[in-house]
Amino acid sequence: MSLLEVKGLKKVYKTRLGGASVEALRNVSFSVEEGEYVAIMGESGSGKTTLLNILAALDKPTAGTVLLDGKDFAHIKESAVAQFRRDNLGFVFQDFNLLDTFSIEDNIYLPLVLAGKSYAEMKKRLAPIAEQLGIGDILKKYPYEVSGGQKQRAAVARALITSPRIVLADEPTGALDSKSTDELLRLFGEINRRGQTILMVTHSMKAASHALRVLFIRDGEVFHQIYRGESTNEQLYQKISDTLTLLAQGGDRR
């Protein structure tokens, strides 16, 4: 059984006034195995963000199911969704989403505090993560005092500290310079090698080229997928580039 199974996902948005409806996801199915590192690519408007919102249990699909460990998202009660999200999912966002009222350390602790963990345990959990991410010396600082790359690493730490089943990353390199991007992608690779499942939504080829598998979404459907296999990052990059060119030319599924 796969860790995450997405079957026949469909999402239709209705405009508030008038009956016009927009189909953001038509029919999306795929699965993610334990320990995988999957990148989902697509152009703006392809339905990436809608998909991620549904995976994050922030939104409900119009039709279809999302199973995590065989458990259906749709059957979780509204009141339990927040806890489910906290226990199973870790989030990394494009704009970091760190709270400026907290120090970096407190930002990382936030999900644990919400889960009612003791301070001693939180501290114990943070130590190895902080070391791995190289943020040990900025823990006491506030978000406005550190660079974008550091903020994103803090956000990664926040995502990892709950030991989630899957880390969901939404354009994690979108707001970073190239050096910070390289650093973050290297960290993602490393985290993945230690067994962490990662699902990343991006339209950066460079970011996607670090994944083990790349899914392409177009017009609300999974259009194509590439496995890394034995390829290096550079080779994968080339494959992604070719696929995107094909997509842009409007080619049909191979």
Partner: protein, 679 residues
């Protein structure tokens, strides 16, 4: 066509921001209406017909002035919230190619609409309510109701000119803010990064220490005169302490809580404590101002209410008898005693012509001397010898012959040579003996009550009355005392007062006749009688009522204005914070906080921000209570249950009003925050 376009944008701007504009408009209307009403009352025709009318008019005039000055500060303050919100919109217009001149044109039209609405509705409401306010005031001061309806031109003009100018200034200030900022700044003006506040131990602790000291002063002051002078010092200390505590103390407290890991890293406290720090940093000064405003209003309303409902008490304290007359002699000689007997006979005869029964006579002679009452009952009569004159120590000592006491009360006191029975006004502590110019009088008995001249009671200074067996013996050696002008320090007088059963109008006529009779007596022998006065409670009743009723009325009006102001300040704070909290609300939800959790956390913060000022205001009021009580003593009012009652009622009414506004504000806040989710 182009003009129409600007106007449409202006109307749109107001409509879209009605959550901010509506309360602002209402405040403007309220201010204009209040100003007009007070200005109208200061010219109302009924004032001319009642006693104390000119004083009453003056009080109303002063009130309108206070409203005008307050309006300037307050409308500028609330308008700054509006401008801050609008800046983003203007920045967008600017970037889309609208020059700042055009933006100013939109602003001008907006301001014009606001000004016209405020002036029209303000004057409309003011004129509509003016007669009602007048009737209320007439009723309070128990004057005669008139039924003519006037709209004084001066009041209308004054309101138009003052508030028109104020709106113009506010407009210019808004233009200035838009003109001198770059479009990108306009866009960003709402959210720029903020440093976390640092705990300032010095200021935080100083705040608590200062508050403690001020409270100590307030509760430890015994003497009303001292209370008067210390009151202002205590007020200043409390104001400073409130600012320090709200700004530095609150941050300090949160930081201390954060240091306690077990407490801080708890779901219940984590978010609240850390965001409180920011809230207090941004709002500390504002909340402190609100707290002081509320305290002011509470003190004002509870004391003026107490004064008003205690006016009969005050009147009776000031005028213990219906009719009174006091004649001051150069000396009490047997010859002057004869004059006193003659005067008494004249007064009784005059009362007889009205068929008045004379009841509860007060009739005594006295000699008085003033000085500073030092340690051990030593009265220093030469104030030049006292290092620093402490008004709390100034005392007038009256010597009253036992003979007169016996005549008044029909009983005698067992007093020996060099002994006296004492009675003190204003709760002065009576020493065991009083020594004047080396001459000691032992106090063997303290009297609980003594009917004395109401003028002494009304005075701020302390009076001690000594009943002595032999006046001449008691005054031996004191007759020669002179002040630095060479005037004799001892003063002599005769006080005669009584109640009657005749009509108030007759009483007033009677007292006028008594006055004429005393004047005739003085004219016969100008050297024996130094001065004289007569008083009628009924003649001065209307003056009293006018003054106290007027103060009460003004207290009510100002309370309404200040309370609305305080509440609106909080409303704007919460609303503007709501806009800032939208994104924070979003992040927390993404990280796994449930909606009820967030709601709870925000709720507790809002409750704190909302009720902290009123909690502190009530605390301030509680500690100010003993002082207010003593200050009211100076107004001849000593009715503690009444003061407790009026204070409690004021607090209750305030809290109820406050709670209603809290509901409205929190609903507006949540609708703003949840708007973010819908987008």
């Amino acid at each position: 066509m182009k003009t129409g376009y600007y106007s449409r944008l202006a109307v749109d701007g107001i409509r879209k921001n009605r959550r901010l504009y509506l309360p602002y408009l209402l405040t403007c209307v309220l201010m204009v209406a209040m100003f007009y009403i007070l200005s109208y009352l200061s010219r109302a025709s009924f004032m001319a017909h009642i006693g104390g009318g000119s004083g009453l008019a003056w009080v109303m005039h002063l009130g309108s002035f206070v409203i005008a000055v307050f309006s300037v500060f307050f409308l500028f303050y609330t308008n700054s919230f509006l401008i801050r919100r609008r800046k983003k919109e203007f920045g967008l217009f600017n970037i889309l190619g609208m020059d700042k001149r055009s933006i100013s044109r939109i602003l001008f039209r907006e301001s014009l609409i606001v000004a016209l609405v405020a002036l029209a509705f303000g004057l409309g409401v003011g004129i509509a309510l003016s007669k009602m306010a007048e009737l209320a005031l007439v009723n309070l001061v128990e004057g005669d109701i008139t039924f003519d309806f006037t709209i004084p031109k001066q009041s209308v003009l004054l309101s138009l000119v003052i508030y028109g100018a104020l709106f113009l200034l506010i407009f210019l200030n808004a233009v200035r803010q838009v003109r001198f900022s770059k479009p990108i700044e306009l866009m960003r003006s709402e959210n720029f990064g903020e440093k976390p506040p640092k705990a300032n131990w010095l200021f935080g602790l100083a705040g608590f220490a200062l508050l403690g000291a001020a409270y100590y002063i307030a509760v430890s002051i015994e003497n009303p005169i001292a209370a008067l002078s210390w009151f202002f010092i205590a007020v200043l200390m409390v104001i400073a302490a409130t600012y320090l505590i709200f700004i530095a103390g609150s941050v300090l407290l949160c930081r201390i809580l954060q240091k306690n890991k077990g407490y801080y890293y708890n779901k219940k406290h984590f978010v609240s404590v850390s965001s409180m720090v920011y809230r207090m940093k941004r709002n500390g000064a504002g909340l402190a101002s609100i707290c002081i405003l509320l305290t002011m209003v509470l003190v004002m309303i509870s004391s003026t209410t107490c004064l008003y409902y205690g006016k009969e008490d005050s009147l009776k304290t000031r005028y213990p008898r219906d009719i009174s007359v006091t004649v001051n002699f150069t000396q009490l000689t047997p010859e002057n005693d004869g004059k006193i007997a003659a005067l008494r006979e004249t007064v009784d005869r005059l009362a007889g012509t009205y068929n008045a029964d004379m009841l509860r006579h007060v009739d005594y002679r006295e000699a008085e001397i003033s000085g500073s009452l030092e340690e051990g009952g030593y009265l220093e009569v030469d104030v030049r010898l006292v290092d620093a004159v402490d008004f709390g120590k100034l005392v007038t000592v009256h010597f009253v012959p036992l003979e007169d006491y016996t005549r008044m009360y029909g009983k005698t006191l067992a007093l020996g040579e060099g002994e006296a029975a004492a009675f003190g006004l204003k709760k002065v502590e009576i020493p065991e003996s009083i020594t004047i110019a080396g001459k000691s009088i032992r106090i063997v008995e303290t009297l609980d009550a003594l009917d004395v001249d109401g003028l002494n009671t009304a005075e701020m200074l302390t009076h001690i009355f000594l009943i002595v067996p032999d006046l001449d013996r008691a005054l031996e050696g004191l007759l020669d005392l002179v002040d630095y002008n060479g005037n004799r320090m001892l003063q002599f007088g005769w006080h005669y007062a009584f109640d009657t059963d005749i009509e108030p109008a007759a009483q007033i006529r009677l007292v006028q006749e008594v006055y004429a009779a005393v004047r005739a007596e003085k004219d016969k022998d100008p050297s024996a009688i130094r001065s004289y006065y007569s008083a009628s409670r009924e003649a001065d009743r209307q003056d009293f009522y006018s003054m106290y009723g007027g103060l009460f009325f003004l207290g009510l009006m100002l309370s309404i204005v200040f309370l609305v102001a305080a509440v609106l300040m909080i409303y704007y704070k919460q609303i503007s914070e709501g806009y800032e909290d939208q994104s924070r609300f979003d992040i927390m939800q993404k990280v796994g906080m449930t909606k009820p959790d967030i709601r709870k956390s925000i709720n507790s913060q809002m409750l704190t921000v909302f009720f902290l000022p009123i909690v502190f205001a009530v605390l301030h009021l509680a500690f100010a209570f003993p002082m207010i009580r003593k200050l009211l003593l100076l107004f001849n009012l000593n009715n503690v249950p009444l003061l407790i009652f009026t204070t409690a009622i004021s607090i209750l009414v305030f809290s109820a009003f406050y709670a209603v506004v809290y509901r409205i504000t929190s609903n507006a806040y949540f609708s703003i925050v949840s708007d973010a989710k819908a987008e």
